[in-house]
Amino acid sequence: MFWARQLHKMGLLGMNQRNAGYVMPHNPRRLYPLVDDKLKTKKLAQDAGIAVPELYGTIEIEHDIPKLASIVEKYEDFVIKPSQGSGGNGIVVVVGKRGDKYIKASGDMITTEALAHHCSNILNGLYSLGGSADKAMIEYRVKFDPLFEHVSYRGVPDIRTIIFRGVPVAAMVRLPTRASDGKANLHQGAVGAGIDLRTGKTIRAVCKERVITQHPDTGMDIAGLQIPHWDNLLELSAHCYDLAGLGYMGVDVVLDAERGPLVLELNARPGLSIQIANGMGLLKRLNKIDCMADVPKSAEARARLGKELFGSSPEIAVAS
């Protein structure tokens, strides 16, 4: 354990401290339903003018299932997902229509009846945590920014930002791999790449808690990628603080080729791996924000504050 003292020195945030020092004091329990239910989050976000994948419709009771066809009638492609699902289960992505059948992302055909049955399963709580009754959301299918095409294996790359008291403190992009089965979950072997808050460029990447430079499946370099719409994305993430009121949270954003950054979901207990992805401990950054009496009111100012405090200094960026 010769490295034990190093972890203290670099201000690494541990699980106990995250829970006792940040999650419990800053995230009141009564706010959890707002982030656990994606439908509620989405409605709050829409009201606050935060960009989210557009909601085409919801199915809340069995009786509404026949309406599915009329909801998706106007759209060529869409996504059906459970509003309280976890781990990406129960999501059906439809990329097109042929006759009265739909084409799934995998290329398979699916009939309207099968889609209706899937909705029924969602309502019955097949995919929700704890199996409680759930709702089905039908929403816009995100067209991923081509930037990530070469550094992800299928699946949905997303950008996770930790927001403390409304200020972004760290960010990483999560890239699915073959090992993670197309899921952007670092636990299962997805790649996490830390992002420089000032420039929006990836710094370095980790996979399975090891530092890597190339994507394990595609072999492309991961460091130095410029995340498009970075300023916009950071401000969007900071803005999410206003809608849920969670003091310590993770915001997951996806990049759409046409509509730019869209907020996918909020997380009241963001994981600790972001520290490995960025090669730094969170504590020092969190302490800086904790010491402030006030944080700026506007999301834009908070995003700027995060960049100034935690981004690389411009000289270094020039030098490299």
Binding site: M15, N16, G189, E209, Q275
Partner: protein, 520 residues
């Protein structure tokens, strides 16, 4: 502020706990560690019956200087019944009576026994009369006559005669005569009474006696029948089913003769159950007397004042906080992931009955089989509650299957699988399959192994005799445990496994520091 609050609370709890323990140790002289040499047995007979309204009279045989034991203490819980003890046909009877009673009635007889092989050796020394040869009906008459003739020719004295007879009667495939005599007998009482009857054919005095096997923690025990034969000098005891001679040292003779154990007027039947516990009652008695002298009533409120049946329950219950401490330690300080917070403790409790290795094997077997079937259920897309119930039913089936197969293979431990908490097993299988689906097999196996590691540690702690004794005699230790968990609840340091998880970061930092060091 809140951290200070927690610390103060923990401090107060610890002070109270330590004060109470030291008072009990220093003032009342309760030993801190279990003392083996002063082991005593507490025996309790619980008589339960439902009366019709009206008078009740109940006769119950009680201990009468049993060979090999000294009765240190004896008491009755009689409620509003009148109580008298008297001798009748070699038994000492407790005679309870009440003029008016109705509904469910419970009476207790308790005794504290001290094991002493030399005690009451001469019990029942007076020689009995030789029994008259009974007039057996046919076909028994000829069967008895020829069986006794055979046995007589192959034996030298009464002891070997009896042994021969028992061996023949107990043979797995008995010869014709023995089979006739054995036919139709079911209860152990009938079988032993029949042996007495056959021995009477050889004019050998024999009788049925009932003994209680002393087994620590026994709760719903019953008396077992034994066969005694008089060899003109003393009574010899035989195990009627194995033909072994002599009364084992852990069996205490309770009564002589056949018939229902308790005779009652005013109720249909009496349910008699025996509880046994090994403890240090004697030492506590001394302490209790001293407590009376000092004027302290603390011992009146100790767990020893409870009925033995309840004491045995608390012996188990008080181990659970110890297990909880293990879980807190392993999760908060070490960072091992488990399925369900307290699942490992319940598994560890089951290990206490099954033994560790066997318990581990059976747990792994059931969970692995259950998980396989659960993956099949996954395909059927069942709703939550029916799915959980299906898993529960599968678990019960698996347990029954393991018991039956284990029994066929002659593995007695296979039967102990029934002690596993099946609801917990079902939930473990369900959770494990969910984690398997959502986070991959590696995570699921990591947590499974974590659960077993915590359960094993919990078992190690909970099976410690010293700790079990200490929490039972000093339940105020729970206050100290509470203080520890409160403090752990505010621990914000790293978990041990986080050092491993973030090792790459730390090594990087070290090499960076070195680079800076050489640069400047």
């Amino acid at each position: 502020m809140s951290k200070l609050h927690v610390r103060l609370l923990a401090l107060i709890l610890t002070v109270i706990g330590v004060w109470m323990v030291s008072y009990k140790v220093l003032e009342l002289g309760l030993p801190l560690t279990p003392a083996d040499e002063t082991e005593v047995w507490s025996v309790e007979a619980r008589l339960e019956f439902i009366t019709r309204p009206g008078a009740v009279k109940l006769d119950f045989p009680i201990l009468n200087d049993p060979p090999g034991f000294i009765v240190i203490d004896e008491d009755f819980i009689s409620n509003n019944y009148g109580l008298a003890t008297e001798m009748e046909k070699g038994n000492r009877l407790a005679r309870w009576a009440v003029r008016r009673a109705s509904g469910k009635q419970t009476l207790y007889y308790r005794a504290v026994l001290y094991q002493d092989p030399e005690a009451n050796k001469d019990a029942g020394k007076s020689p009995p009369k030789f029994p008259e040869k009974p007039d057996y009906p046919e076909p028994y008459k000829s069967a008895v006559t020829s069986l006794l003739a055979q046995v007589r020719s192959e034996s030298a004295d009464i002891q070997s005669f009896t042994q021969q007879l028992l061996t023949r009667l107990n043979a797995v495939e008995p010869e014709e005569n023995a089979a006739v005599l054995r036919d139709g007998l079911q209860s152990p009482e009938q079988i032993v009474a029949n042996m007495v009857d056959i021995l009477a054919g050889a004019r050998i005095p024999a009788r049925v006696v009932y003994g209680l096997r002393l087994k620590d923690g026994m709760r719903h025990g019953r008396l077992e029948p034994w066969l005694q034969v008089h060899d003109e000098k003393r009574w010899l005891t035989f195990n009627p089913f194995t033909s072994a001679t002599g009364l084992p040292p852990d069996v205490v003779l309770w009564r002589y003769g056949t018939g229902p154990i308790a005779e009652i007027k005013g109720a249909r039947s009496v349910n008699v159950e025996f509880s046994v516990a090994r403890n240090l009652r004697e030492l506590v008695d001394i302490s209790r007397q001293r407590a009376k002298l000092v004027g302290s009533r603390i011992m009146d409120f100790s767990l020893y004042s409870l009925p033995i049946q309840a004491q045995n329950v608390y012996r188990v219950l008080l181990m659970i906080p110890l297990g909880a401490i293990v879980v807190v330690f392993m999760r908060t300080f070490v960072g091992i992931k488990t399925f369900g917070t307290f699942m490992p403790i319940l598994i560890a409790l089951a290990f206490r009955e099954t033994e560790w290795l066997w318990g581990m094997l059976m747990f792994i077997l059931i969970v692995a089989l259950g998980l396989g079937l659960r993956f099949y259920l996954e395909q059927l897309k069942l709703l939550l509650v029916p799915r959980l119930s299906a898993v529960l039913i599968i678990v019960v089936l698996l347990m029954a299957g393991i018991s039956v197969i284990g029994n066929q293979l002659g593995l007695e431990l296979g039967l102990s699988v029934a002690l596993f908490p099946m609801v917990i097993l079902a939930m473990t299988i369900e959770r494990m399959s969910l984690v398997w689906e959502e986070s991959g097999p590696r995570e699921a196996l990591t947590r499974g192994v974590g659960s077993l590691v915590v359960a094993s540690l919990g078992y190690a702690v909970m099976s410690s005799k010293t700790l079990a004794y200490q929490v039972f005699v000093f339940p105020e230790l729970l206050l100290i445990m509470l203080a520890i968990t409160l403090l752990a609840g505010r621990y914000t340091g790293y978990r041990l496994l986080e050092y491993w998880r973030f090792r790459a970061l730390a090594q990087e930092q070290i090499s960076q520091d070195k680079a800076v060091g050489t640069g400047s």
